[in-house]
């Protein structure tokens, strides 16, 4: 269910950023989603297909989804740790940290247009 909201969010956001004419020449939308974003790529693609059925203007537009791993940066020693098994602990100094620098995002990081 929430994937449908996300797809609507993608198009609402793009409609604010770009002109309608330009949007209809859009070839690809590249999104990055962190593993903490609770987005399941397969379900996002399904929701996207469903959106296209009722919005034929976008039927040439592909959605590309990239998953991003979880990383924290320690506030004490600046060390960057790949978080495994949701243990939010610095590898180096073992201090707990909530300073997530990667893995929470839901971003449109690239939009591709046809000439």
């Amino acid at each position: 269910m929430h994937e449908t909201s996300i797809v609507n969010g993608i198009f609402r956001t793009l409609e604010q950023e770009f002109d309608t004419e330009k949007l209809h020449s859009m070839k690809g939308i590249y999104v990055k989603v962190g593993i903490l974003s609770n987005i399941e790529p397969r379900l996002l693609m399904n929701a996207y297909e469903a959106f296209l059925l009722s919005n034929p203007n976008y039927h040439n537009t592909q959605l590309h989804v990239e998953m991003v791993d979880l990383k924290i940066q320690c506030e004490s020693c600046d060390h960057i740790t790949d978080v495994k098994n949701y243990r939010f602990l610095c590898d180096k100094c073992q201090k707990p940290s909530k300073n997530v620098i990667q893995g929470e995002e839901m971003l449109i990081h690239k939009v591709e247009f046809d000439d």
Binding site: M1, G9, Y86, P96, K110, V111
Partner: protein
């Protein structure tokens, strides 16, 4: 909201624009409006999340009963269907408004903003949002709240924080609810607290039961303290 539209001319056969647009930009924009509105009215906004059936509405009833003579409380409650929860909360004598999401599994900032004018905010000290019962989607949607509180019922099993990490990472408080059932369940408050704090080391934890009233005073004191801080800010 005024956003400059791109007028860049196309170059070559394929033109790319590298951006960093948050997919929830529209939600977060409205959440900020709510946050400013609440700050100007000095109303504390608390978002209550949990799985379905972990005791959110019962906690709202108990909290209203305990605090209604001390501070003015109101509740907005989200569900897929029915007015049942709002009716239960109204029986305690406080204002409660039902948001029927019609199948959507979470509340979004826009839904909160649309009903805010139904409340006389300057007279309300504490406004609860009782979210849709679900530990997944509600975690991603900022509603402009001051604090997020997650109920974790002893009947759900003590393995939830690692299964639904984002909810526990974004919460300020975990209420281990239905503690009166602990003698009958293989549930360890210590284990659930340890797991939750591996995800979020700043998480506050209260063990409570709306039936036996264990922890209810501690919970109410926490709320009253946060209301005071908000009003002094």
């Amino acid at each position: 909201m005024s956003i400059d539209k791109s007028t860049k001319a196309a170059r070559g056969t394929v033109q790319c624009e590298n951006t960093n647009i948050n997919l929830l930009k529209a939600n977060d924009f409205v959440a900020d409006i709510i946050r400013k509105e609440m700050a100007s009215k000095n109303t504390l906004l608390v978002n209550i999340t949990s799985s379905a059936g972990s005791g959110k509405t019962t906690l709202m009833q108990k909290t209203a009963e305990k605090l209604k003579d001390k501070i003015k409380i109101a509740v907005m409650v989200g569900d897929l269907e029915t007015e049942r929860d709002a009716e239960r909360i109204r029986e305690t004598g406080i204002q409660a408004l039902q948001i029927v999401t019609g199948g959507i599994c979470h509340l979004e900032a826009q839904m909160i903003h649309q009903v805010l004018d139904q409340f006389d905010l300057p007279s309300i000290d504490l406004l609860f949002i009782e979210n849709v019962g679900n530990l997944v989607c509600p975690a991603s949607f900022d509603l402009g709240e001051d604090y997020r509180v997650t109920l974790m019922a002893t009947t759900e099993g003590d393995d939830k924080p690692k299964k639904y990490p984002r909810m526990f990472l974004t919460s300020d408080m975990m209420l281990v609810s239905k503690s009166d059932l602990l003698p009958y369940l293989p549930f360890s408050v210590e284990a659930v607290t340890k797991d939750a704090r591996e995800v979020n080391h700043e998480l506050e934890v209260i063990q409570m039961s709306s039936i036996s009233e264990e922890g209810i005073d501690e919970w109410c004191d926490w709320l009253v303290e946060k209301v005071k801080q908000k009003q002094q800010a």
